[in-house]
């Protein structure tokens, strides 16, 4: 479709244009100006990313060498600047652990650059294939939508918290800087470039989490920074391994992956650890849970749809290297245990954002498990999961943000009967939740596919993963279904009031709901045109991943789900209204009853949280312990493998 040169210009546009917007937005003070800038910026970025996606369908993977040599040096300078800033900020805040890790990382990086000066193979720096296209579309479209949503949200946010410093220009600037960095991550072939963009996303996450400038926010921001840096420090070590052992041409992602496990396994394993930290797998999960203190658009963009996807993206890239290897199995086990543990902890949480956070961690665990297993089928499931999760989760986060501003609470227990107060928003939350665990929606398809993939692979570890998924599956149904029930349980109908929701918020939610449903209908198309061709190039053979008959079945299910709205209209007025059964002594209003001693009592129904079995602290301790064990085991194997 597009010529190679135009294509490369498109990629560079996607990286540089948001950067430019970031600078512009930091300087603009006026709200109207900012509004126009954000909307136009988001639209442009969205369209450009969709063109990239469309192109990746029609063309093979394209590799570009950027004709300017200076960029490598600029990137190194950029790395130094970022590290310098972090050292400065952490020293000021007396976070000495962060300082030391950053310093260590910087030293390692300097060593790498020194080696790179001497041994400098020419590899294409940028590239784009189907997977990059999918990731770019997610970043561009969902990122753009969330930025527009943030306009209305942040206005309400500062109206509600007048004590917090209003630094919205900086906020939106960093959001766009983040988008730029994410495009850099998914389009980079040169791993040094990828590392640079990776570090920018870590920095953006830090700055955005601490935006409220409360003590709690600053503390959690530094924790996120620390964990991501600990993981990120493994990447320069991987570079050292490459330069000292294999040769500088393997600093290219494509070159490294196609070289096979013999050469790539150790660097890939080390980089995967960085990916595990960024995608908040155990033992690194607590940073993501803590990051929920940030404003909701931040949670939606960075901590569910996009930045954490960078972590699993890089593991997915290396999946062909991990296939059948013990390193891959360990990564898969970390993912599986994360899936189970995070789902279990989510049962005991009543804070809506924490439930979403743990659910995100769990789904990322499932993706990581698929990538660790590394077969074509598993990767198929993983990519579908990435797509479906990004859309559904951002819908959920943004809906919860809207609800929070209306009812002034994040607690699920306060969302009782929300269907009468805010029917449309509730409908969208229900779509989002259904998208997370119900047939025939996408996550279900992915779970089904991953079970198919696991039974065949790496006996007997595949079966271990299957058992873990089996337990996790019922657990996820529990916490989602009880949230759904809470929303639709109507005691006394409340007056409908959706008028105070900003227009921008509502429209974005409509679009995201449509996307959730659309992607569900469209998954065969995504599979056929995007995922399967990519898998073909990666694995040179593709098993029968999803037979036509199963597609028919899923369409049937979808059809059934669609006739539901019509039957809802049919049944709603078909019965005589009577009070609910309260042993016969209701009093006055229908939600009160006469208790003992003649005292009137109000019904109070709350969900089960099963604290003693699924309590956060106990389960976290166990899972972090297991996670540490597995990571250390992984490091041991990587080190020994290097020695051999």
């Amino acid at each position: 479709m597009l010529s190679n040169d135009t294509y490369m210009e498109l990629l560079i546009f996607l990286i540089l244009f948001p950067l430019l917007m970031a600078g512009l937005l930091t300087l603009i003070q006026g709200e109207n100006f900012r509004r126009a800038a954000v909307i136009s910026g988001a639209v442009l970025v969205g369209i450009a990313s969709l063109i990239t996606l469309a192109d990746s369908i029609t063309t093979q993977a394209v590799y570009h060498s950027v004709p300017v040599d200076m960029i490598g040096i600029l990137i190194f300078i950029g790395d130094i600047l970022i590290s310098g800033y972090i050292i400065f900020v952490s020293l000021k805040a007396r976070q000495y652990l962060v300082t030391s890790i950053t310093t260590l990382q910087l030293i390692l990086l300097c060593a790498v650059e020194y080696l790179a000066l001497a041994d400098h193979a020419h590899i294409p720096e940028l590239f784009s294939d189907e997977l990059s296209g999918i990731m770019a579309a997610i970043i561009g479209v969902i990122g753009g939508l969330i930025c527009v949503y943030a306009l209305g949200y942040m206005r309400e946010y500062h109206a509600e918290h007048p004590d917090r410093p209003d630094k919205r220009p900086r906020f939106f600037g960093i959001m766009f800087l983040f988008l730029s960095a994410m495009f850099g991550v998914v389009f980079s072939n040169n791993l040094l470039w990828l590392f640079f963009f990776w570090e920018i996303t870590t920095l953006c996450s830090f700055l955005l989490i601490r935006y409220p400038e409360t003590d709690e926010a600053v503390k959690n921001a530094f924790r996120a920074l620390l964990f991501n840096l600990v993981g990120g420090a493994c990447i320069p070590v991987a570079f050292l391994v490459i330069f000292l052992g294999q040769g500088s041409q393997y600093i290219g992602l494509h070159e490294l992956v196609t070289a096979g496990p013999g050469i790539a396994l150790i660097p890939a394993g080390l980089i995967a650890i960085a990916g595990l930290a960024k995608s908040a797998q155990f033992p690194f999960s607590s940073w993501l849970v803590g990051a929920m203190v940030a404003p909701t658009p931040v949670s939606a963009l960075l901590h569910s749809s996009t930045m954490v996807k960078a972590g699993v993206y890089i593991i997915a890239r290396f999946a062909p290297v991990f296939e059948g290897q013990i390193v891959g199995i360990l990564i898969a086990l970390i993912g599986g245990i994360t899936f189970l543990a995070a789902s279990a902890i989510a049962i005991s949480q009543s804070n809506a954002k924490k439930v979403l956070a743990y659910s995100t961690i769990a789904n990322l665990g499932l993706i990581v498990a698929c990538c660790g297993v590394g077969t074509a089928e598993a990767l198929w499931a993983a990519i579908l999961l990435i797509v479906f999760h990004a859309i559904a989760k951002s819908l959920l986060f943004l809906s919860v943000g809207t609800v929070e501003h209306q009812i002034h609470s994040r607690d699920i227990e306060d969302m009782n009967g929300l269907v009468t107060k805010m029917p449309r928003i509730t409908m969208m939350i229900l779509i989002g939740i259904a998208g997370m665990f119900l047939a025939p929606f996408g996550m279900l398809i992915s779970k089904w596919a991953s079970l198919h993939a696991f039974v065949e692979s790496v006996p007997p570890y595949g079966i271990l993963l299957v058992i873990i998924i089996a337990y996790g599956s019922g657990i996820t149904a529990f916490f989602w279904a009880k949230w759904m029930g809470k929303l639709i349980a109507v005691g006394e109908p409340q007056t409908k009031d959706e008028s105070h929701i900003p227009r921008s918020e509502k429209n974005i939610l409509y679009i995201l709901s449509a996307l959730t449903i659309g992607v569900c209908f469209g998954f065969p198309i995504i599979s056929w045109y995007l995922i399967e061709p990519w898998l073909l190039t990666m694995y040179q053979s593709v098993t029968d991943l999803i037979s036509l008959s199963n597609i028919e079945i899923m369409f049937m299910m979808l059809f059934l789900v669609l006739i539901m709205p019509f039957s809802l209209a049919r049944f709603t007025h078909s019965a005589r209204r009577v009070p609910r059964y309260l042993c016969g002594i209701p009093e006055g209003r229908s939600t009160a009853f006469m208790g003992s001693c003649g005292i009137n009592r109000e019904i109070a129904l709350s969900n089960y949280y099963l604290e003693r079995i699924f309590g956060e602290e106990r389960l976290s301790r166990i899972s972090v312990g297991m996670g540490i064990f597995l990571i250390v085991l992984l490091l041991n194997i990587l080190i020994i493998g290097g020695g051999l």
Partner: protein, 282 residues
Amino acid sequence: MDPFIAAALFIILAPVVGILITGLDRILTARMQGRVGPPVLQPWYDIRKLFQKKQVAVWGAQSFFIFCYLIFIIFTGALFFAGGDILLVIFAFTLGHVFLVLGAYVSYSPYAHIGAERELIQLMAVEPMIIIAAIGLYQVNGSFLIGDMANHPGLPILLLPGVFLGFIYILTFKLRKSPFDLATSHHAHQELVKGSTTEFSGWTLAMVELAHIYELVVMLGFIWLFFGDNLILCVAAIAIIMILEILVDNCTSRVRWQDAMTSAWFVTLVAGAGNIFALSIM
């Protein structure tokens, strides 16, 4: 057999078979208790009577959810007997049950609410074992398709003894029999009034009963899969297991939900997971 014909036969015949089995269940229960018991077609009379009542409800939406519950159970059962993918069947069942749970939640009634929560706990307790059973059957048959499993010439149960035992354990949950009839029970002497079905009446309640009968037939079909294509052995196994379930139902009282859930998970781990793990390393 052509899948569509099999599905159609299921939709028409399953209530007949289910009602007869349920009726025999009640007669056997009565005889064990030293009574005579109702006529064998009593469940049919019950359902027909419920359709003759004029419905009452707390909110009309209840009926909508139960209607969806019934449709999905029927659809899933039809998928099962048409020979489809067993994992898909299991996940579709989950969807159906979530509709039942939502129908119970809608009324904001204390009894229905507790019933709904317990329904979810039952779901959580049962799901691992069912998935593991499906995986075990896959390992023996090499295919996830029920059509292939039903035609297996040998006896899958010989390779899946642990899985079978685990499955029978959770079958008690599925059939809503003591000691695991947490969410709603056919015995009025249990507490919680009627649990999740408290606020349903008339044809809504009839649909719940009908869905339960369809599900019964599918569960028995699941037992069938453990015996391949040996017809006599299958029927004998089903008969023996139903009698055992009825016996257990009469001899035990309901346990606490904590015990129900943890024991189900434990049995799943030891019997079910152990079995499939062993199969994978052999």
